[in-house]
């Protein structure tokens, strides 16, 4: 039985806390290991925010997209960077509204790390992309539409 199966089978925080206390897990490691299945199965912004532990998110002008084009030449690789100017930003997440599941990625930002991350996501079609930020327990978001175009000569 591997570590994840232990967690799943015993369902929770007590076992994890126990494992941490006996030194099986480092505390930083635990957060990374516990993959938030519910969040990655949510179908829209609200459900994703709830699965991430919030109630609702408010729109914020302090969240900006960096390096994200208005039009992507190929949906398989769409560069998306998010910058948060909200003080004490502790998490940044990238959601693609029209993907089968909205959440693409979430990043935990420790003290000392800039609240700016860049990655690349897949988009099945033209869609709104949401950047969700958690700061001091509250959730904020910003939205940008990215168009996905067809290309090439093969179809």
């Amino acid at each position: 039985m591997n570590r994840r199966e232990v967690l799943k089978a015993s369902g929770g925080t007590t076992v994890m806390a126990l494992m941490i206390s006996v030194g099986l897990l480092k505390s930083g490691d635990a957060a990374a290991q516990e993959w938030n299945k519910n969040a990655f199965e949510a179908k829209n912004l609200n459900d994703t925010v709830k699965a991430l532990g919030g109630t609702a998110a408010t729109e914020s002008k302090d969240i900006t997209f960096v390096n994200a084009p208005d039009i992507a030449e190929n949906g398989a690789v769409v560069p998306v960077g998010v910058q948060s100017k909200i003080p004490k930003t502790e998490m940044i997440a990238i959601l693609v509204e029209k993907n089968p599941n909205s959440l693409s990625a979430s990043f935990t930002i420790p003290d000392g790390t800039e609240a700016t991350v860049s990655t690349r996501v897949k988009m099945g079609q033209t869609s709104n992309v949401h950047a969700v930020v958690k700061a001091e327990g509250k959730f904020y978001y910003a939205t940008k539409e990215i168009k996905v175009t067809l290309g090439g000569c093969g179809g």
Binding site: G28, A31, A32, P110, T113, T119, R120
Partner: protein
Amino acid sequence: MADPMRIRAQMAGSMVDVRVLMAHEMETGQRRDAAGKIVPAWYIQSVTATCNGKTVLSAQWGPAVSKNPFLSFRFSGAKAGDKVIVTWTDNKGDKRTDEAVIS
């Protein structure tokens, strides 16, 4: 075993600028192979970057992160010569750890 990551860590003023490329298929579980069979989902679920024993970024990913993922971020509190260590774990339990010296 998975191919190594390509990690670049450079001082940019007082911050460390980190860029990571990972070799991973990031299968969505929706693609069909040449024989028409569904290719099972296979993707990186968690990424952790540490420097001098401290976590400087951790991430959770779903299958919508692009194939051969790219990630960039900046952190403070380190100097040239220190090591940035990045580890990923995928949904099959495969793991890969690589490191780079800050230049």
